[in-house]
Symmetry: C2
Subunit: 510 residues, 2 copies
């Protein structure tokens, strides 16, 4: 494994690592050996200019060639072998099995878009000419799609592979025909470089213009600002916190030319537990929800953060089972020291809110477990929830809040208070169907994915997936960042009128 610590600027490794930064080994809490260079203004400008130049040829590459390129990236990622797994585990604290699974998903995503391109699915819509139409003849029109241009992608802290360097945003942008300027996450720069090396090899193997991909390293906030405000950047993909996402959104709002900002910024993924389900399955459901909450120590965007029900006589069974399950959980390592601090602050803040009860906490970390955190389970009533906006916000980590409603009317009122979410689940039995219908109708307008009797964690990468939703789940409610529809974020319609065959793009030819 050879880590240069440099930026990959259109095929050239560039930068001075001597004044750079290092990642933290998440588990040992030690600074890692590799030094990485903050990209400078010239390098960033160069990367974006080269992307813009590469767009001319890359946007015209046949669907088959783009598909081959995506598959080759997947092969080269796999060829990195254990080096990649070891680096990602050290930088994020995630276990090897999880990283291996995520690698499979990452390669699978590249394959999904390759399949999509090969299937020629984006067929033209054609309206034929009618020379005899009165009062005016009707022209022939054909609707096709064009890639937008160079896309900036920001890596996510919690998916070092599947939402990072060659993750879903990159795969869908490259599939659409857009070059990518990738901003690596400062918490896993080594993983980013290894994957960038794989992409760079795929570019060589497939004979693609090297400007199609650049990797920008850095901890300096000015870097992100320079990227998103550059006039040649035509769309931005971002997965992260609402705070950072909205800083980028505001910078993008200042551009002379508006561009789409696809920000996935936060979600509490409410769980609605209906009366009969609670009566029939309280204990099992409680354990299932805790297991879902504990995945990746709650650091999934689909982690179930708020659970609501009408608190009848079965609520105690549920809460006891959930509390016991939580109290048995070991402290877990967080992705970054910053996330650990934020999580602990949020838990402390909730503990101080009158009307919020801390039902249980997981085991405490040992003295050596520096940025490990413990799970926490809280409960409150609707009035307290309504009055404390901080309870409406996502806590990134394994903390959940039970909202005990007094009635079905209160449960419906709870739904109306929710901000936008990636997902919600309705947990119901046969007998709950009438209430489930009401909940589904109201909850649909609060989420991008509505789930019945399943946990929210786990996102299928398929044609019918939607991973988005009302703000802050997504800044662009009409888009998904997972699944084959994700490619549409980086394409736009164009109508060709009365065009001879020779001037039509391949897919639109007669």
């Amino acid at each position: 494994m050879n880590i240069t610590g440099k930026n990959l600027i259109a095929g050239e490794w560039s930068g001075d690592t001597s004044n750079g930064f290092s990642a933290m080994n998440a588990i040992t809490n030690q600074t890692m050996n590799e030094m990485f260079a903050d990209a400078n203004e010239q390098e960033i400008d160069q990367a974006i200019n080269k992307a813009s130049q590469a767009f001319v040829t890359y946007s015209q590459l046949s669907a088959e060639k783009r598909a081959g390129f995506l598959r080759t990236i997947g092969e080269q990622i796999l060829a990195l072998g254990d080096d990649l797994v070891n680096m990602a585990c050290a930088e994020t604290g995630l276990p090897a099995m999880r990283i291996q699974g995520e690698r499979g998903r990452t390669i699978g995503q590249l394959g999904l878009f390759a399949n999509l391109l090969e299937s020629g699915e984006y067929q033209a819509v054609v309206d034929l000419a009618d020379a005899n139409r009165a009062p005016l003849p009707k022209p022939e029109t054909r609707l096709g799609y064009l890639p937008l241009g160079p896309v900036a992608v920001f890596a996510a802290s919690n998916f070092p592979l599947a939402f990072s360097t060659a993750g879903g945003d990159t795969a869908s942008a490259l599939a659409a025909g857009c070059p990518v300027v990738m901003k690596a996450h400062a918490a896993h720069p080594g993983t980013a470089e290894l994957v960038a090396q794989a992409i760079s090899k795929a570019i060589e193997i497939c004979g693609i213009d090297a400007g199609v991909f650049s990797l920008i390293q850095g901890k300096n906030y000015g870097i992100s600002s320079q990227i998103v405000t550059h006039p040649m950047i035509k769309a931005v993909g971002f997965t992260g916190s609402e705070r950072v996402g909205m800083i980028l959104q505001r910078q993008i709002n200042e551009r002379a030319e508006p561009i789409p900002f696809y920000g996935e910024l936060g979600s509490v993924n409410p769980q609605f537990i209906l009366e009969n389900k609670l009566a029939e399955d309280a204990k099992e459901l409680a354990q299932g929800l805790v297991a879902s909450l504990m995945m990746a120590q709650g650091q999934f965007c689909t982690s179930p953060g708020i659970w609501a029900y009408v608190a009848d006589e079965h609520a105690a069974t549920f809460e006891n089972a959930a509390s016991q399950a939580i109290s048995e959980t070991a402290a877990g390592v967080m992705l970054t020291p910053g996330i650990a601090v934020s999580y602990n602050n949020a838990v402390k803040q909730w503990q101080g809110i009158a009307g919020v009860e801390c039902l249980a906490q997981g085991k405490s970390p040992s003295a050596e477990q520096i940025h490990f955190c413990s799970a926490a389970l809280f409960a409150t009533d609707l009035a307290t929830f309504k009055d404390n906006k901080t309870l409406h916000e996502e806590v990134f980590g394994s903390s959940a809040l039970i909202v005990r409603c007094k009635s079905q009317v209160e449960l419906m009122a709870f739904i109306s208070l929710l901000k936008g979410n990636l997902t919600a689940s309705i947990h119901a039995s046969e007998k709950d169907l009438p209430m489930a219908q009401q909940v589904a109708l109201a909850a649909a307008h609060k989420v991008g994915r509505l789930i019945y009797n399943q946990m929210p964690t786990g996102v299928e990468v398929c044609a019918s997936m939607n991973h988005g939703g009302p703000f802050p789940a997504s800044t662009q409610i009409r888009s998904t960042s997972v699944g084959s529809e994700a490619i549409k974020r980086f394409q736009r319609p164009i109508c060709y009128q009365n065009m001879p065959n020779e001037l039509l793009p391949e897919l639109l030819k007669i």
Copy 2:
């Protein structure tokens, strides 16, 4: 014809016309008799609240019922008869035949969306469950679409029917399942009220919640700001100037929750004339372009504002023919006094630019023709065009600029300088195909619709139309404001996972 001058707030006519405003008769330049009430803050808030309440039932209305509602609106507009035509002609100065044609298009648009709804075209994408998949079972997921919520629509000055009260934005929003809060254009408030009366009757006939449509009258700028920043408004449709559109965009950017702003803000619709076409058809093409330019006195969003070619020995034939055609045009009435002033200022400004030659002007208006304007034809070279950004901006009215390039290289450089446009046309003969291919590849990235050997004016309302394009043609490059795809602006995806049939929306049921 009974004009109340009031606002229609969810079925109630409301407002005090005594401190209101009047429209101007465009041809006589006289203030019209009818007084209209500026909507006040309470009325606007009421309209939006009622729209939000109506959304609950309207969003669940079957596709068939929504289709019936759209058709009934069309019938009621037709039932307004000559009253509507006379009012629109007086307020806009457009001739009766044009208004009748526009009425046909408006009713046709409503019918197009009704057909779309009845055809059940928006089929679900379904991925079936697979209980045996390893390592985890695959859930069933179904992708459907939900309406966004209340939509604010701003009427356009240049299409009092087809882009106003019951125009394309309203029709597509209502088709999608979204209530509409309509801001009438202050230049044609009487036309707006008549159409609102028709919509109100259709609401009664179809038994729809009256909150589904409100009409807001007003000249006060605060009205628009209140509408677009209201938290219950979930999308905005606007057709107008870049200046006003960007004021709205900035106000929308300040919202806590980002929403899509569909602004169609300007387009110069470049015409690329290739070498052999110029040699073969100079005179006919010049006359055709002048005829296209003169439609509605150049007040079409697709008006051909810039014509470019390699100025060889045939250019003189073209320019002479175009100049002669321009000089024979009569002065025409503009939609509003403000538009007349802006047009005359722009023409004056261009006359003062060194390197810009005024080739011809149309006949001057008579003393009584107060806000009539004359056509104008200018010519310049690429260097002057490059250095004067004002020449890149749309002049709303019948003014065109010829850019004389010295070579094909200069013609390609000219394309690269263009901002975004709704359309561009390539005028070419058989022999021009190689150059046409180059032009088409470059020009495609500057436009929403690329046309071959036809004029840009005239927009088909059909499935394959795209009326949008790179900024400033549209603030949302991925959307069209004309054609059946326009409905998607007001819908967003939702994934239903593992949902029983009873909880699925009609279109997604098994």
